[in-house]
């Protein structure tokens, strides 16, 4: 059995959520099947400009075939088309024009899929909203498995996707909420699917003390991991955190790890550390009182899984149903809708080491039961086994 993973970008230097997810899954499933990755030559997700040479290479033991992008995205035109189709009455051809601009437009990739269909048993498409998935699934619907990585954003309501969601042979969802959303939108209950997510590898040891010493931190701190961006709800986090400090007089700090594209308030208790290596990230998590996750749109929070892997509790934005669902299913974290709930939940967490410990332990158990790589690999094998009629 040969399986092709089809994704918009691929490479060791690419850390986007869906792309990293695809790379990890492809590398792990290569232990069970011959695996190939079909992708574009793009590196930049804004323009999809060709960066890598077209052709074959091997990355971490996985054969990767790259195909050129025929025309890069024009961000200005894309923005205009997007605001038109999301804000006004439009026709299906407008949505298709938006998709052409969304990219990465790679007819060579599509030609390869159609010409070599018989060489592959299944095509696993990552990210429903890009050109490669839309046209790829239409080309080989009976062999396609879709990992939608869908968030609750406006694009998911487009008509072209409603039809697309009924076409794949099977689905691999990231969360229960993602599955419910897609099924509600497209009525595709008849298409088999499993909630799988992605595995997390945790370093053998991590030390909060080492992190504190390295960065000169004293006292309790909350940690935020990820891009510091308005889309991730960081502006609200800063606002709530500073109000919490003013209201309660707490000495807690907020440590931020990740690249910033948002101005960070100059406050002695907000500590931006920029991008940090993996080991430092886990050290930071190990030393934190809790992880705070303010994002509004997620299909699965990998950093929450990392926090639970280390037995740390989380405080998440309840306006993102996926985050709230993860907290409720794991019993590993609290959540907030607005500032009063943020204040009370954080006050409760910081005031009760026993509660933090109990939530962290629940999170650890939830992680071990659902998100170790053995379990993820088995779920992929089970799904393909079902499609093959083996179970």
């Amino acid at each position: 059995m040969t399986v092709a993973f089809v994704v918009q970008r691929y490479g060791l230097a690419i850390n986007g959520g869906a792309e990293l997810h695809c790379r990890w899954v492809a590398e792990h499933m290569a232990r069970h099947w011959p695996v190939e990755v079909l992708t574009s030559c793009a590196y930049d997700y804004i323009t999809w400009a060709n960066h890598y040479p077209a052709g074959e290479e091997t990355i971490n033991g996985v054969r990767v075939r790259r195909f050129p992008v025929s025309h890069p995205r024009n961000p200005e035109k894309f923005g205009r088309l997007q605001s038109e189709i999301l804000g006004r009455e439009h026709r299906e051809k407008d949505e298709l024009a938006w998709l052409e601009e969304e990219g990465p437009t790679s007819p060579a990739l599509l030609r390869h899929i159609m010409a070599r269909e018989k060489e592959y048993d299944y095509f696993v498409f990552f990210s429903y909203r890009y050109w490669h998935s839309f046209h790829g699934i239409k080309a080989v619907p009976r062999k396609s498995i879709l990992v939608p990585t869908a968030e609750r954003d406006e694009a998911i309501g487009l008509k072209i996707f409603k039809d697309l969601f009924r076409m794949p042979r099977a689905y691999i969802y990231n969360s229960e909420e993602e599955r419910a959303m897609i099924q509600t939108l497209s009525r595709n209950e008849g298409v088999p699917g499993l909630v799988v997510g992605v595995g997390i590898e945790v370093p053998a040891e991590s030390s909060g003390e080492r992190f504190r010493e390295k960065h000169g931190l004293r006292g309790p701190y909350l940690i935020y991991l990820g891009r510091i961006d308005r889309n991730k709800g960081c502006h609200k986090l800063f606002d709530y955190f500073l109000r919490f400090k003013a209201d309660t007089g707490s000495d807690v700090k907020l440590v931020l790890i990740g690249n910033s594209i948002l101005p960070i308030p100059a406050h002695p208790d907000i500590v931006p550390l920029g991008f940090q290596p993996e080991q430092d990230k886990f050290d930071g998590l190990a030393g934190a009182e809790l992880l705070v996750m303010p994002s509004f749109y997620e299909s699965l929070s990998m950093v929450m899984l990392e926090a639970w892997a280390l037995g740390r509790p989380v405080l998440a934005n309840a306006r993102c149903d996926v985050l709230q669902g993860q907290c409720r299913r794991s019993n590993g974290g609290l959540y907030y809708d607005d500032y009063p709930q943020f204040r009370e939940a954080l006050r409760l967490l910081l005031g009760s080491p026993r509660l933090r410990e109990a939530l962290g332990e629940n999170g650890r158990r939830y992680f071990a039961a659902n998100y170790t790589w053995d379990i993820i690999e088995r779920k992929y094998l089970d799904l393909v086994g079902r499609l093959e009629g083996r179970s």
Partner: protein, 184 residues
Amino acid sequence: MEVEIDYDNIDVASIMDQVKKVAASRPPEPDREEPDSPAAPSGYPPPAGGGPPAGPPPSGPPGFKQKLKAKALKAMAPFFPVIRLFALPLHEELKALTRELDTTNRRLDTRFDGLAMTADDRFKDLDRAMEYIKLLHTLSHSLIVEVTKLRIELDGLKSKARILEKDMESADRRERALETRLLQ
């Protein structure tokens, strides 16, 4: 109000219900949501006053400068509504409208889940009803086909009956003819 926690059986949903009650029991705070962009600097007073915008307070005894300023203000008075329209009032109204829209948007977000679930149930009902309609349609179609077939069969049987009738008449005639021959 304290949050009661069963540490042996942590239930986040129950803790959050209590946290929400505690949060709701605190006195509400003035709206301190972070604005999307820093407020534009403005030296104009709020629009409610209706009069011309006031300048900074006089710094010395009234003299030529203040008289000049008063005259300038008087001369500009007809333009103040336009100035207010293009400067502060419209901006404030837009900000207020944006805040209101933002609040409404959030409320809609929170209602979305409930509505989605309700809609989901309705969709299921609708799907079921559509299945019934499809079955009824199939049934009607089958009935029509069967009735048509029976009609055709009836016509066939009628024809056969007519043929048999004629055969019988013919047999009668032949019988009578044979009898006549035998008696002769």
